[in-house]
């Protein structure tokens, strides 16, 4: 926030995320701990990126910043061309709702709610009518192959199915990007494979950018681009887009 915001070129529409010298520090017992120490990267529309790193590397912090769940201590972050520093908490919530879909390791479904209503939840906060919500949620569930499970509750479904419901929920609002935090971490190999296949399919078919956060090298291998994070810094970026990927 201390970095002056310069006038942006009209490339906002082509990049999902643009981070410049992103830093995030926490106060722990009065001691300042830097989780991110200056990350600069650009993720374009429709990319499939894996953020890889050991635990404590700062990759979760990076994901929280990219997901607008948290704000950087300093540096600039643009999501879909919008500088998040200019947004108040309400506008930030609206940006999350419209631009970002989340998939979590532990699914985070509402336990007593049907798959259909779980998927429709983001649209509730967008003020979409009940009828339209249900129609869109139905379509999203069909897209992940769960058209026959709409009335089921999470407890009545397998882990793989639950994660597919979560993916449908991430997609229902037509986001620019899906942020998946260890999406296969709680799944067996077969279900993990299925979920990865689904994410790849959605990326290819719909052009939704997918940012995968994982410490699993095998999962990361499947992404076209890998960003290795270590000690709060980008250690290696395998395929930054040529246009604006030059390290600054």
């Amino acid at each position: 926030m201390t970095v002056p915001v310069t006038a942006m070129p009209d490339d906002g529409a082509t990049s999902a995320f643009e981070a410049v010298d992103l830093r995030r520090s926490y106060q722990l017992d009065g001691v300042s701990v830097e989780a991110l120490r200056g990350v600069t990267l650009t993720i374009g529309q429709g990319e499939f990126v894996a953020v890889v790193g050991p635990s404590g590397s700062g990759k979760s912090t990076l994901m929280h910043l990219l997901g607008c769940l948290d704000r950087p201590t300093s540096g600039v972050l643009r999501v879909g061309g919008v500088d998040v520093a200019t947004l108040d908490d309400t506008r930030l919530a609206e940006l999350r709702n419209e631009a970002i879909g989340f998939v979590f390791q532990s699914f985070h479904l509402l336990a007593r709610t049907s798959a259909l209503d779980n998927v429709a939840l983001p649209l509730v906060y967008r003020g979409v009518s009940r009828q339209e919500r249900r129609a869109r949620a139905r379509a999203a569930l069909e897209a992940v192959g769960l058209g026959h499970r709409m009335g089921h509750r999470p407890s009545q479904m397998s882990g793989g199915e639950q994660q597919r419901v979560a993916i449908a929920r991430a997609l229902v609002g037509d986001p620019r990007v899906v942020l998946a935090d260890e999406p296969t971490g709680n799944l067996d190999t077969r279900n993990g494979e299925e979920v990865m296949g689904l994410l790849e399919h959605l990326n290819a078919e719909r052009g939704v950018a997918v940012v995968l956060v994982t410490h699993d090298g095998e999962v990361a291998e499947r992404a076209r681009r890998q960003i290795h994070v270590r000690d709060g810094l980008v250690e290696l970026d395998t395929g930054a887009p040529a246009a604006d990927g030059e390290a600054r």
Binding site: D89, T90, A93, H108, R112, P122, Y125, G127, G173
Partner: protein, 394 residues
């Protein structure tokens, strides 16, 4: 998010924890119930007393010696019949003024004896008080002037002494002196615990001789209309003070009596309602407590909702509506039970209960306000949760 959506969510959240919701509501239910019933009883008592006062007659001014007020000691009367004549001159119309001399005396017929309130009065009593006769006649001027030993019995005295017999023309012995019954009053109930059906009226002159004192206890004046009450009252008191500069006189009107008693009973009702209100407050604290537990339990859910785009005000609204729903449902149940309880008390006990709309509206309003007041803190806590931390909670 729309309010309708939040309402559906809140109902669902309350349904999930049915027992907990019901127990939390119970605190509010008991509070509202207590408010409604106690206010109904207080109001009922006030109405009953006001009805009694109104039952005396209309536009009455009572002149008594000394200071009248709550807690004032009864004063020895200095007034006698010459003062009554004086007041009659001041008022201008002698027929609008009557007098009372009171004494508790035994009244006997044969072997049957009852204790009655002997009231010495005069022929003008019916012009001032509503005292309809069932049988016979009232006092005449001659009865008073010649100190006749005639009596008019209250309905209860007549019933106890004579049963089904017609008392007119029969003899009764009052304090050892024989009287002839000339009339019987209709049953009229009691005023301020004074059982007026237990009164025996005799000529004031006769009563003074019987008691052995030439005093009167009070003078009653009937004003011709509500507008005349106050000037008349002032005129009479001023005249009496001019006559007796060292004495205190008070003139009490029904309106003042109603006002004083009404104030006392309203205060009583208020105190009862306040005590009941405390239990409503305790119920509110219970709501607050349970909401805080709910926020803690649902931290992950709150984190998720925020990640999916819920704004702070969406979360705040969701929890606030939940709290208000708890207290308003509790309020409605409490009102229904309170109204039912008040009707039951009315039907099964001598305690009068009067349900007033304002107490119901107030109880509902207060319970909703309790929901808002005690819901705000937990709801704000929920709304301000950091999504990153909330998502990690277990």
């Amino acid at each position: 998010m729309r309010t309708g959506e939040a309402l559906v969510m809140a109902v669902e959240a309350l349904r999930v924890n049915r027992l907990r919701s019901a127990l939390t509501m119970l605190g509010v239910i008991i509070g509202v119930l207590a408010v409604v019933i106690l206010v109904a009883i207080g109001t009922g008592a006030k109405n009953a007393v006001e009805k009694e006062i109104a039952g005396l007659g209309s536009n009455i001014i009572l002149v008594v010696p000394g200071q009248v007020g709550l807690g004032a000691a009864p004063t020895q009367s200095r007034l006698d019949l010459s003062d009554v004549a004086y007041v009659r001159r001041v008022v201008g119309d002698p027929s609008k003024v009557t007098v009372a001399v009171n004494s508790g005396e035994p009244v006997r017929v044969g072997r049957t004896e009852v204790f009655a309130t002997l009231t010495g009065t005069d022929q003008y009593l019916p012009n001032v008080f509503d005292r309809p006769l069932r049988r016979g006649r009232g006092l005449s001027a001659t009865d008073v002037d010649t100190r006749r030993r005639v009596a008019i019995l209250g309905a209860e005295v007549a019933g106890k002494l004579f049963g089904d017999l017609d008392p007119i023309g029969r003899q009764v012995t009052i304090a050892g002196v024989r009287f002839r019954v000339i009339g019987v009053y209709e049953t009229i109930g009691s005023t301020f615990g004074v059982a007026r059906d237990q009164e025996v009226h005799v000529p004031v002159t006769t009563a003074q001789r019987l008691i052995g004192l030439p005093r009167v206890n009070g003078i009653a004046i009937g004003a011709s209309g509500p507008d005349e009450i106050e000037p008349l009252q002032r005129r009479v008191v001023d005249a009496l003070r001019a006559r007796y500069p060292d004495e205190q006189f008070s003139a009490v009107t029904q309106t003042q009596l109603l006002g004083t008693i009404g104030t006392v009973l309203s205060m009583l009702t208020g105190v009862l309602a306040a005590i009941a209100g405390i239990s409503l407050l305790v119920g509110g604290v219970g709501v607050s407590n349970i909401m805080l537990v709910g926020v803690r339990e649902r931290t992950r859910e709150i984190g998720l909702r925020k990640a999916l785009g819920a704004r702070q005000r969406d979360i705040l609204g969701q929890f606030l509506i939940e709290a208000v729903l708890l207290t308003t449902i509790g309020g409605v149940v409490g009102i229904l039970l309170g109204v039912g309880g008040a009707l039951l008390i009315q039907a099964l006990s001598p305690v009068p209960a009067s349900i007033t709309w304002w107490s119901i509206a107030l109880a509902f309003g207060v319970s909703a306000a309790v929901g808002v007041f005690f819901g705000v803190a937990p709801a704000r806590r929920a709304g301000r949760l950091d999504p990153v931390i909330a998502l990690r909670a277990d």
